[in-house]
Structure formats: C-alpha cells, structure tokens
Amino acid sequence: MAATATGIYHRSYQREMALRHTRAEYLRLALLVTALLATPYVLDRYWLSIVNTILIAVIGAVGLNILVGFTGQISLGQGGFLAVGAFTSALLYERAALPMPVSVLCAVLLTAGAGALFGLPALRLKGLYLAIATLASQEIIVFIARRWTFLRDGSAPLSVERLHIGGYQITREYFEFQWYWVLLGCAVLAVLGARNLFRSGLGRAFMAVRDQDIAASAIGVNVTRAKVTAFAVSSGFVGLAGALSAHYTETVTWESFTLEVSILYLAMIIVGGLGSIAGACYGAVFMMLVPVLLNESIGAVGDSLPFLSGRLPAIENAVFGLVIILFLLLEPRGLDRIWQRMKDYLRFWPFRY
C-alpha cells in the first residue's frame, strides 16, 4: 500500500504520507471531480438512475473489500448485512420518525454490531469453513426478513416515505438529480474513509492478519480484535449502502437481498481488484454496467436477432460467469492492477520495468 513506484522520491515525511505523489495523479483527480460534477447535467434520468445505483454499489463494494480484500476474511453474508441496514433505517425513519441522517447512522451502527456478531466464527474458522459460516448468516438474516411480519406494512412490504431532510424534500421531477448529490456525498465520504483507514494502525493490522495471522500476532497485533473489528467496520459500510438503498428505492423487501446479491458483490471486488479501494469502485461500476450495456447492445440489434433478445437474462448470467472466470485466469488482481500496469508501462517506457 504505502510502497510507491521507482523513480518517485520524497523530500519530507509529509510528502511521503500524501495520498497522491505525481502531477498525473492530481490531474486525474481533477478530471474525475469534473466528470462527477458534470454527470447529472449530461445524463438523462434513466442513465442517472443507473449512476445512482452504482454509487450505492460502490459503498457496498468498498465495505466488502475491507473485509475480503484487506483482511482476508471471506464473506457470503453481504446481502444479509445490506438487509439489516435497509430495514433498520427504514423502520427508524418510518415508525420512530427519526430524521434520515440519524436513522442512517443508527443503521450503520446496528449493522456494524450485527457484522461483529456474525464475524465471531471468523476467530476459529478460515477459508471455506468461514465462507459457509457467513453463508449461514446470510440465510438467517433473510429468513428473519421473510417471516417477521413486523418488517412489513400489514400485507404490503415496508414502504419508505420520499426522503426529506429538515425542510429539504426530494421532488418527483428532480428525483434522480437530487439523489445523485446525496449518494455522491456518501460515496465520496465512504471512499475517503476507507482509503485513510489503511494508512492507520488499525488498517495495517487488518492487512497483517490477511498476509499471515501468526506473524501478525507475533509482532503484537491482537488478531481477535482485528478480525472482529474488520467485520464491524466492513458491515458498517455495507449497512450504509443498505440504508441508502432503502431510502432511494422507497420500498424494502427481502427479495432485494438474496444470496445472488452477495455473490454479485463478491464478483465486483474480484473483478475490480481485491485489496484495493479504487478496485472496489471500478468493480462496482463494471458489474453494474454489464447488464445495462448488454441490454442496450442486444436492444440495438434485437430486431434483426430476436433469438438474442428473448434470452437476455440467460446471456446476462453467462457473461457474468465468463467475466469472473476471465478475470481470475488473466488478471486475478482485477481492473485496478490492469490500470497500474498501464501506468507503469507508460512511466518506464521504453524499458519494461
């Protein structure tokens, strides 16, 4: 993480600690900020709604990457934790009439607590065994969401009133536009928070546990605490994503938090790059865009090839699987690594390294 490329020298400790070292990195940041600011003015409502779902996915993927990519603890419970966040925030907002920031914050804390609880098996289990234990947490949470009638509005699913914060009310006409700023703000905070987490002692302890837990405990890392904290911190991010999705979609049903969602998020961080915050963002963008772009491209040729448009979901699944396999085979470290290799290639040209 802290390692920088050859050829870049630092003259002060402060410079070395900086998040960005080269002019090109600052240029990229400027471009990114401009693009993010321009997005809602360029895209129409449909595409903006896709961007909004991507922003929620970014928060969730960053959270999952903290656990899987940085701490090395596999989790199949993502969907369940999203559900905890979504239901908590929706219930507090609707039934306890708390303002949205408070209800979301409570959802984050409660999901973090739930994450720590379901993370306890991680103290004893590793690898495949832990995967099955977290799979159980997914199934338990979704089972509760299915059966507990308290989590429904009578016979209807839990509905969430259109968002208002203080006197500020989301309007129908500018729904996606206004939500874009809310979600962008949260996503930026989440990304910055996670990025900085790994410059702190706690974040480094996570990585030490991932690389070799016995060695980590030998150098004084409290492995127990690190693992449980990793589950809590990761679930906190996931809870934020779940809470935002509840307010954004305005309806909470367990059907949006199935095992498939957990696997989709795992796919995001595998494709984006395990152990990289930027990778989680790339992966979220990529995996959310795949079905949309497939839909568009098949829609474009659909009239000449009705055979394809009738099988869209099947093709979607096939492409989904293919993408994961290709990434695991060709670049297991994901999109983030591809981007770094491209940068290195330019930087060291004409030498290879």
Binding site: R45, Y46, S49, I50, A156, E173, W181, P291, N295, P313
Partner: protein, 398 residues
C-alpha cells in the same frame, strides 16, 4: 486542519450552488402527439415463474398486435416494450426506470414481489400499473392508488377454495396449504385463516412453504399426512404443483389438490398426466375447454398466426384480457382528451364495467374510485379425462 476545514466549506458551498441550478426534468412528452402509445411490460420468460409467464406475455403482445391491426386506439398504435426480468426484483426496478424514461403511459407488471416493490414508485410517478399479481393489498386505492387488479385476488380465490372444500368435505377436514416461499405464496395465507374463523368453517389449515427447486415434495406431503390433511391447497406455479400431484399418486396418499389460479392450467394437467385426475382447479379466467364468447377474438387472431387457444392455454387469455383492460382505460382517457397517468387512472375508475364475454369471473370487470378490485368471481374446474371440466362458473366468496 485549517486546510481540511477550508476544503469542507468550499465543497459544501459548491454542492449547494450546483443543486440549486437543477437541469430541466424530462416530462411525459410521448403522451402527447400522434405517435404510438407506449406501454412498458415487465415479463418473466426465463425466471422462476417463466412456465406461466411466457404464455401470459404472449397474450399481452398478441392483444397489442390484434388491436393495432384493428386500427389501434383512436388511430394510434400501442407500442408494447416488453423485456424479461427473470423474476428478479432489482432487474424489475431497473426495467421500470428504463420504461419511465422512454415515456410510457402505463406499466404491465408480473409478480407479487416486484409489483409490491414498485407500488410506491408508480404512485409517486403517477403511472397506472396492472400485474399478474392478485395480492389483496394492490386492490386498495388508499394504499396503492395506481395499481389495478383485473381478477379476483388470491385471498378471494382462497376463500372460494375453502368454501368449496368445506362443502365437499361435509364435515370437519384438515387442509394443508402448500405455497411458494415468497410474497406471492404468502399473500392469501392470513386472509384464508381469517376466513375460516369468520365463516366458522370446520377446517384446520396448516401452511407449508415449498422449497424452490426441490426435486419432489414427499417430505412436505408426509408432514401434511401426519397433520391428517385430506385437502391440499396450492399457491404456486404449475410445474411444482404438478410434481405434488405426482408425489401424491406415487405415495398412494388420499389427498385432493385445490389449485389457485397460477397452477390451474393446462400445463398442470399435462405435466401431471394421470396424477392430475380428480384434482380441483380454481381459475378466474375461462380456459379454452370452457366455452366463453370472449374467446372468439383470441381464437380468430391465433388462427391467423397459425396457432390455437388450446395450444397457448389459459394464461394467454389472462394476458390478453389484462392488456385489454389497460387499453380500454387508455382509450377512455384519449377520448377525454388527456393521456397522462392520472387521466388513465381516472378513466379506469370511471369507465364502468367492461364486458369480457364471460372470460373473467362473472363476466365483467369494473373498477371504481373506492376499489381497484376488478372482479371477485372465479370458475371452479375439475380435471377429468385430461381436460379442465367446469364445476361452477362465477363463484364469489360468500
């Protein structure tokens, strides 16, 4: 620290400035003019309920083709944008947004899960929404002002089924309710239990969720057997229901199935084969074996397409008439000179009873401002000689 504070202040100021000058939101442009009238269709062709979703969707698209060939609505074509969502709620939400962006004036949905998930959205966006989900909550204009339910609700079907069972048993009887483990499956359960209490029917009903993708239901049936169940009400689609019928026959159990509408079809009869004989089907839409005047247009259209109603089955009829109701609402709204969502909603509420030629329940579908429950009556059929033989027509829960 100072730096951070300055950046934070700047960001806050910039955000405020940016949100203040919002771009113009798109309107319902396509509602005006003479172009085609767009209707979004969320279909399940390949998902968990694809076996019945496919003919339903074909029925809708068939109706649109037939109506357009007949001059459309007031000279304008209906353009049905139909996409498969594979019974996945997030996909349905995405398709819905896509349709809204394309400027559709109404939405035809499919399952209970997605209809309920989209309920608030269609209310906020003021888009009339019909679906193949007949959940009770969707009929209440207070809760779901833009949802319309064409057929008797699952709860009404359940009440009819329970009445039939009580009469058939002629005394105390045990009922096992096997249901799809989803909002769709659970929809009529509580109302059914309440009905037994209200009507003081001498029935005991236990519910058993059917695990998705199970190779057989012998385990569930043995539980039902130890409960002493003689009747099995199934709220699920045809394929698993047919499996239950086969299991009952293979195990030599003395149980009679009563299917609610999603497994009351030719597919159940064909798939279960001999094992289907004697079981009872509650189906609000008249199948091809029951002669109804409303079948004539469909049969003529399908003949022109080189197919037949026997081949397409009852869910084709269902899709056809659901689209018919929506088209009638749109036609009335156009006549009144306004094709917006609220206008179509008002038109559906005010247009009075629409005759379906004896196809739906007691024959007519009618909405009002107080109730979006189009029908309460349903037909009851028994499987005999591999066909659906009508026992009763237009039975309402009383």
């Amino acid at each position: 620290m100072k730096n951070i504070r300055r950046t934070a202040a700047l960001t806050a100021a910039a955000t405020l400035a940016l949100t203040a000058c919002a771009p113009g939101g798109g309107g319902d442009e396509s509602a005006e003019g003479d172009g085609p009238i767009k209707v979004g269709v969320i279909a399940d062709l390949t998902g968990a309920t694809g076996d019945v979703g496919t003919p339903y969707n074909e029925g809708m698209l068939g109706y649109v083709k037939w109506r357009n060939a007949d001059g459309g609505i007031d000279g304008r074509d209906i353009e049905a944008i139909s996409k498969d969502y594979a019974y996945d709620v997030p996909t349905a939400e995405r398709l819905y947004k896509e349709y809204v962006n394309e400027g559709v004036v109404a939405i035809q949905g499919w399952g209970t899960g997605d209809s309920e998930a989209l309920m608030n959205k269609v209310t906020a966006d003021e888009l009339p929404f019909m679906s193949a989900s007949y959940a009770e909550v969707l009929t209440d204009p207070e809760e779901a002002p833009y949802n319309f339910v064409v057929a008797p609700t699952y709860s009404d079907q359940m009440r009819v089924a329970l009445n039939w069972i009580a009469e058939d048993a002629g005394g105390p009887a045990d009922v096992a309710m096997l249901h799809n483990d989803s909002p769709f499956g659970l929809a009529p359960l509580q109302d059914g239990q309440d009905w037994i209490g209200e009507q003081s029917l001498d029935l005991t009903m236990n519910a058993y969720p059917m695990p998705a993708g199970a190779p057989n239901f012998v385990g569930l049936l043995s539980k039902a057997k130890s409960q002493g169940a003689k009747y099995v009400v199934i709220q699920n689609v045809s394929s698993p229901a047919a499996q239950v019928a086969k299991d009952i026959k293979a195990q030599g159990l003395d149980m009679k199935i009563v299917c609610l509408n999603w497994c009351s079809d030719e597919l159940f009869v064909e798939t279960a084969g001999d094992a289907a004989e004697g079981h009872v089907l509650v189906q609000p839409f008249a199948p091809s074996s029951a002669d109804a005047d409303g079948h004539a247009d469909i049969e003529e259209f399908l003949e022109g397409e080189g197919s037949s109603l026997e081949e397409k089955g009852v869910h084709y009829v269902q899709g056809w008439y659901t689209m018919h109701m929506m088209a009638e609402g749109i036609a009335k709204a156009l006549e009144d000179g306004d094709l917006s969502g609220p206008a179509i909603k008002d038109a559906l509420e005010d247009m009075g009873a629409i005759d379906t030629g004896g196809v739906v329940g007691t024959g007519e579908v009618e909405f009002s401002a107080d109730s979006h429950r189009g029908q309460t009556g349903t037909g009851v059929y028994v499987v005999e000689g591999g066909t659906m033989k009508q026992l009763d027509a237009g039975v309402t829960p009383e």
